[in-house]
């Protein structure tokens, strides 16, 4: 399993992973639902292009952190929704801790920079 640490050299990807996993913690979602959920909860701050979702989703699925399943939704056709696995839940917990530590450290550095 990938180590749940903040990749400082690739903050955007690491942040997107955290956002997606957190959104899925609230229940299974399709790709579009995920994007909307993140945008709404982030009050527009995390408005990323929806096309960038797929590599992250598929990587998380490959690492068994999330599980994708197809369902037939009648006239809307086939849809793939994702849900968090137990492994993903543990990973999310670790990632949250790492991000909190990272944010606190970042704020400390910024404050020192000011003085």
């Amino acid at each position: 399993m990938a180590k749940a640490t903040v990749e400082t050299q690739n903050l955007t990807r690491s942040c997107n992973e955290l956002l997606i996993l957190s959104a899925l913690e609230r229940g299974p979602k399709h790709g579009y639902e995920l994007a909307i959920d993140i945008e709404e909860r982030g009050a527009g701050i995390f408005g990323f292009k929806h096309g960038t979702l797929y590599p992250i989703l598929h990587k998380l699925e490959k690492n068994k952190l999330i599980c994708g399943a197809w369902s037939d939704e009648g006239p809307r056709g086939k849809r793939k929704s994702y849900e968090l696995t137990d492994r993903g839940r543990r990973y999310l917990g670790d990632l949250r801790t790492s991000w909190k530590a990272f944010s606190e450290r970042l704020l400390t550095v910024i404050e020192r920079g000011k003085s």
Binding site: G31, Y32, G51, Y54, G77
Partner: protein, 251 residues
Amino acid sequence: MTRFNDALTRIAGALAIPQPARSRVLLEIAADMEDMYQACVSEGLSEDEAEQRTLEHFGPSDEALQDLVAVHSTAVKRVLDGLSEQARSRWERGLLAVLVVFAVVVGGQPLIGGRLLSGMSSFAWPILVFAAIGFLIGATRIYSLFIKKDHDTRRLRSGLNPLIVFAIVELLLGFGGAWVGLFLVVTRTLDDMERSGIYLFDWMLKSSATLCFSMIAAMLLALTWMVLVARVAAIEQAEAALLLRPRISKH
């Protein structure tokens, strides 16, 4: 396929990943695009505006497409994808035929006669155990795929990889056993030079029997794995084709 045919065709062209993963990715993007389009229309946008906004949001960048390709590609797949469909099919059929003929001609008769088993070294037992477990797994998967026809996509590939792992273990045990046997022959020869010829001849007989058995078991396990993987791939292809059946016509 959908109102976003052109965009999906462009994405498909850049998505160099094997089927059925490619079809599934396209279907997933198409479904999400359709969701966003419908949401835009319900917000009061015209169809053209809704289509335009959807394309702006969903068209994966070149970087995103490269990341997708990287996620779905493995070293083995990259090598196999280098071969044309025809060449791959010919190669697989040829390899299968050679394996079957070799296994039957070389291993069948001595195994049935029991001569091979009686002449093997003590490494025969772990080889037999791994072969038995491997064939048991293979038999359950064959039953599930060919007889029970359980094509649950989540379970299709489960239990297949251990077959190839066991095949490799069989080979390692066979060759490892031969080397250990040779080491013992050298040790004994140092203690008793007069009987060195007998020790060496005994080692050759036992090692050849053990190696022969381990290679036959490994080939049969690999053969079972190939057949099952081919069957699973065929099922996944059929499923992907079904998922991509024309559903929404362009307005």
